[in-house]
């Protein structure tokens, strides 16, 4: 754990509200990006992140510091997001990869770029909406690993720890998630520019 995160946790544990606020400020954007990627709705993502930080605050005394603070936080964020996805669908969320991976098309990674400019995603709300809509079409399991990997840069091992599954499962989910996202974004691009 970064020395200053550790110090902030220790101070927050002693009741230092400023220290806890600094922890929130430091990690809220990353937490929110992950939550948003998983649940799609900005307000749900906000609620999830607030609840996650409140859980962190409640359990500061029990945090051993043996893991990175942000890993602890993001695990809570992901679990809360999964809980919400379950509640939305009113049934067990599909984390069964046999169904999620049941693709008739066995093609691998597409060698074709979507044509969207990643830099444009920073400023183009419409493009961001399309990307978020495509994310929303993935299964929860696929969406979770893709977001953790592409937003947070978690390693396969870290993702496996968070999702309590094997590295092989993580790799498979990531593979299928990327394939599906490519297909969706290429389709969006073609629909937006049929002459291209």
């Amino acid at each position: 754990m970064e020395p200053d995160d550790r110090k902030l946790v220790e101070d927050a544990r002693r009741g230092d509200a400023t220290a806890f606020r600094e922890l929130v400020t430091r990690h809220q954007r990353r937490a929110y990006a992950v939550a948003l990627g998983m649940v799609h709705d900005p307000d749900d993502a906000r609620d999830i992140c607030q609840d996650a930080f409140l859980k962190v605050h409640k359990n500061l005394a029990t945090f051993e510091g043996d893991a990175q603070f942000f890993t602890w936080l993001y695990r809570i964020v992901v679990n809360l997001a999964i809980d919400l996805l379950r509640k939305r669908r009113g049934q067990r969320v599909e984390f069964d990869d046999t169904q999620a991976n049941d693709e008739p098309d066995e093609a691998g990674i597409a060698p074709h770029r979507t044509g969207f400019d990643p830099a444009r995603a920073l400023a183009d709300k419409e493009l961001r909406n399309q990307i978020l809509a495509a994310l929303d079409k993935l299964s929860p399991a696929h969406r979770t690993v893709l977001v953790m990997r592409e937003v947070e840069g978690l390693s396969y091992q870290e993702m496996a720890d968070t999702m309590k599954c094997s590295i092989g499962t993580i790799m498979s989910r990531l593979f299928h998630a990327r394939k599906k996202m490519q297909q969706l974004l290429i389709a969006y691009r073609k629909a937006a520019n049929p002459a291209a």
């Binding site: 929130v24 954007r29 929110y32 990627g37 607030q50 409140l54 691998g108 969207f116 961001r128 937003v151």
Partner: protein
């Protein structure tokens, strides 16, 4: 190219290969591999940038601070209640649960004629004109869970 090769390429892309394997994969990259890597890089940029941009302005602290304050108040009241019920099979957990339930039930729904300059819930109506319609102003509050959520509703009913 088979799925196994693609998965290896993915591990290379994600920096998950041991150094020796990484060097071997890199030395053997085909043009098709390079196109795939470029496509993966583009996807990473799109997803990462989109979500990061959406998160750029997020500020969670006000809602968190409010919840922490509410928790402290509820805990204080629960503790006080438990003390008052000492000797009567006090159940502090049920006290706090009762307080939360009561707070959650405190939804306000106020319909009132609009008055200029009437400060309400973060939205003040300065002027309101209608033609061919009647307008009412409704102030609604949300549950404590959502923090600072309340809204003003401007309801217009058009003449038929």
């Amino acid at each position: 190219m088979g799925k196994a090769e693609d998965e290896r390429l993915q591990r290379y892309f994600d920096g998950e290969l041991p150094e020796a394997d990484r060097a071997a994969v890199e030395a053997a990259l085909t043009e098709d591999d390079k196109l795939k890597l470029a496509a993966l890089g583009e996807l990473r940029g799109l997803v990462g940038n989109a979500l990061s941009a959406e998160a750029a302005d997020i500020d969670l602290w006000p809602g968190i601070e409010k919840q922490l304050g509410a928790s402290r108040n509820a805990a204080g009241k629960a503790a006080a209640g438990a003390r008052r019920r000492w000797g009567l099979r006090a159940h502090p957990a049920s006290w706090s649960a009762g307080l939360v339930t009561a707070a959650a039930a405190a939804l306000l729904f106020v319909v009132q004629p609009w008055h200029p300059g009437h400060a309400q819930n973060g939205c003040d109506i300065e002027s309101l004109e209608t033609v061919g319609a009647v307008a009412s102003v409704i102030h609604m509050s949300d549950t404590p869970h959502r923090g600072d959520e309340s809204t003003t509703v401007i309801w217009t009913t058009e003449d038929d």
